[in-house]
């Protein structure tokens, strides 16, 4: 791809903001609109923008393929693991109340972890989709 100065400068300016916004949506989802799904998509959009502007190889250098596979599985494992953990602590599957000292603390911790798992899986899955489709164009 021919380097385009304007695109490069604007992308470099925007990408940190997009990632920051994704983190805000992720961890502020309890209080405002948003949550793991939206945050994951926004986060992956930052990496996709980088790959579109700076080339697919540079994008793949940030997060290599095997990492994406691990991350996509890790999110589901975190989510299901919270359920298993609450089973071990003597509650029902995915019953967060048992995770904390009181009900509010337990629910808070559970929701935070679960949303984190959702965010990681969604971000990794979107990037896997993008790299799979875009990677075919190179051959």
């Amino acid at each position: 791809m021919k380097p385009n100065l304007i695109l490069h400068v604007i992308a470099k300016f925007l990408i940190p903001l997009i990632i920051l916004f994704a983190l805000y949506v992720q961890f502020h989802g309890d209080f405002g609109p948003g949550g793991g799904f939206q945050a994951g998509v926004i986060f992956s959009a930052a990496i996709i923008l980088y790959s579109l502007v700076f080339g697919l190889e540079s994008g793949e250098k940030i997060i290599p393929h095997h990492w994406l596979r691990i991350l996509a599985s890790l999110g589901v494992v975190i989510y299901a693991g919270v359920g298993i953990e609450s089973l071990f602590l003597g509650g029902n599957y995915l019953d967060y109340t048992i995770l904390g000292s009181n009900q509010i603390a337990g629910q808070h911790l559970g929701i935070l972890l679960v949303e984190l798992g959702v965010g990681i899986t969604v971000a990794a899955a979107m990037l896997i989709l993008f790299f799979a489709f875009a990677g075919r164009g190179r051959e």
Binding site: F31, P33, V41, Q103, G110, E115, L129, F130, A132, E139
Partner: protein
């Protein structure tokens, strides 16, 4: 009053965009219009006080799916007109037109029984919504009821959704991801140099 004006403007734009999508033959332009359509729907959801849905629509509909469709188009497109071969017409437009008119009238007839938007006796307000609105904050300490329902009350459903997304990624990876045996690693620099 202000809401009505915004609604009318957004719906007019939606109708115009969908008409343009129908009439156009340039696939690139159609994909961009799909993105605009999603963004307009997101605006509509904001007006209807559903920021969580609007968020998802703007990020997934206008963002990711546009990019995915563009990358797909880059794989299959022709560079000049005609962008695709139209299948020869085998029937007249009458039957589809009748089907569309009958279905459309049935749908519009169905809207007569639907309670007004936001009315207090709508079924969506009278069943579980009240329980969640009253109990989600004391139960979970999370002010955003949508998050409380999604992650806590309906945690099983969300686990299923995450598994679906994971499965989709695995399926795409199996179908078109990874290295194909005949492909040669690219050597010349397509990789843009970072000049800063």
């Amino acid at each position: 009053m202000f809401d009505v004006v915004v609604d009318i403007v957004l719906l007019t734009f939606l109708a115009t965009t969908s008409f343009a999508i129908m009439r156009m033959t340039n696939l690139f332009a159609i994909i961009m219009l799909f993105g605009i359509f999603s963004l307009l729907s997101a605006g509509l959801f904001v007006v209807m006080d559903a920021p969580d849905v609007a968020f998802t629509e703007a990020a997934v509909g206008a963002g990711i799916s546009t990019v995915l469709m563009l990358t797909t188009l880059a794989l299959v497109k022709r560079s000049k007109e005609p962008y695709y071969d139209e299948a020869p017409k085998t029937h007249t437009a009458w039957l589809p037109l009748i089907v569309v008119i009958v279905t459309g009238s049935a749908l519009i007839y169905g809207t007569w029984d639907i309670p007004n938007f936001g009315s207090a006796d709508a079924p969506s307000q009278t069943h579980v919504a009240r329980f969640y609105l009253e109990n989600s904050l004391p139960d979970t300490g999370v002010p955003n009821t949508v998050t409380a329902v999604l992650a806590s009350y309906r945690g099983f459903d969300t686990l299923g959704e995450v598994t679906v997304i994971f499965t989709a990624a695995v399926a795409v990876m199996l179908l078109i991801g990874g290295k194909r045996p005949k492909s040669v690693p690219k050597t010349e620099g397509e990789e843009a140099k970072d000049e800063a």
